[in-house]
Amino acid sequence: MEIKLKINGINKEVTIKEGEYLQSALKKLGFLNVRKGCETGSCGLCTVLLDGKPTLSCSTLAVRGIGKDITTLEGESVEVAKFAEVLTGEGADQCGYCSPGFTLTVIAMKRELESPTIDEIKHYLTGNLCRCTGYMGQLRAVKKYMEVK
């Protein structure tokens, strides 16, 4: 079936199979940074923003994206650049595989929480797993990024 999705403010058409998930539909449309990870809903790699809320695209049916604002990393280039600068400044750069989902969650958190504590940051980011570099550098960077205007 053919569906229309609004991605990063632009309407796109994509042909999907019955029961196909959003991650797969976005990949077909060329959004390759929406990564496929655990596929059990545990790792957060495939995170996109659905009406501004961090959501697992691997567990959201593509048809449920109809009529919603879907945001991938490309749609947040200004904030992504700001966060990347802080992240590298803290020596917290990663291999990059989990970075898109992690970065989108951090951006959503900044909009949702005002001056979050370390515990609130950890709680918000529980659903984003990093398989290589760990978490401490990233936590420092996130804390600093929360103060960036």
């Binding site: 019955e18 029961g19 596929e39 809903g41 545990s42 959501t55 697992l56 529980t126 984003n128």
Partner: protein
């Protein structure tokens, strides 16, 4: 991964129900976060997301949760944070991450009677009813006690606003994992309602009077736990769960006592 032959965006509950009962392999789609872990062959996947069933609201007597409400909404909802000492919201906040909680739905969890559910345990400790499209309104206890999952649609979760104080505790092997055990206790008018879930079977509830607890707390906890069955799975043995149950019940009671 499941397969779906046809996806139906239902335009009414009636249409969803009629489709559901036509074929054993027609299934109501909740968040589909858990469904995707299996390999079910679905004939028609019935989607209720266009029916405005995503709400948390209150009237004079009750708080109502729509079946398509996500756990993230449950977690952040002011009404649920302010009533029953916030245990309904607290019960979902350790479930994996916020991205998954933005997908999982309250209705699918309750309708599926998941044994591992933290949410069901919290609801069971309160005066909770479920409304089924054809089956009408029944208590959650009664709904869970029935072994089979009815071919019906859960259209509403209703929690009586009776001023119950409550506490919720859960034990996990690691953060964001499924619970090894969970426990919720509520207190109203001299009666404690003790719900224990992830045994690993479905949550069950027992009641004890405040007076009994005040006099012989260890004895009463022992008696309540002895009435429950505990089993093993990859996360814990039945014996371990039984020991943890006593600890969590005691902690809930102590929390209620300190409020």
């Amino acid at each position: 991964m499941f397969t779906i032959k046809q996806h139906l965006m239902a335009q009414s509950i009636e249409e969803g129900y009629e489709t559901l009962v036509k074929n054993r392999n027609n299934v109501i789609l909740g968040g589909t976060g858990f469904l995707k872990l299996g390999n079910k062959n679905i004939n028609i996947g019935i989607d209720l997301s266009d029916l405005d069933l995503d709400y948390i609201r209150e009237d004079e007597n009750n708080i109502e949760i729509g079946p398509m409400t996500t756990f993230r909404s449950v977690e952040t909802n002011k009404l649920l944070r302010e009533n029953f000492d916030g245990i309904i919201a607290k019960s979902v906040e350790e479930i994996v991450g916020i991205q998954l909680r933005s997908v999982i739905t309250a209705g699918a969890t309750v309708a599926s009677k998941y044994g591992f559910s933290d949410f069901i345990t919290a609801l069971l400790s309160l005066n909770t009813q479920v409304e089924l499209y054809k089956g009408g309104i029944i208590s959650l206890d009664e709904y869970l006690a029935e072994e089979k999952i009815p071919r019906d649609i859960l259209v509403r979760i209703i929690i009586k606003k009776d001023g119950k104080r409550a506490a919720f505790k859960t034990m996990r092997n690691s953060k964001s994992d499924y619970a090894v055990l969970n426990c919720a206790v509520s207190d109203l008018d001299g009666e404690y309602r003790v719900a224990v879930g992830a045994r690993p079977g479905r949550a069950v509830v027992k009641t004890i009077s405040n007076e009994e607890v005040n006099n012989k707390i260890d004895e009463k906890i022992e008696a309540v736990v002895n009435e429950m069955k505990f089993g093993k799975n990859m996360r814990a043995s039945g014996e371990y769960r039984e020991m943890i149950a006593k600890v969590l019940i005691r902690r809930c009671l102590e929390e209620l006592e300190s409020k």
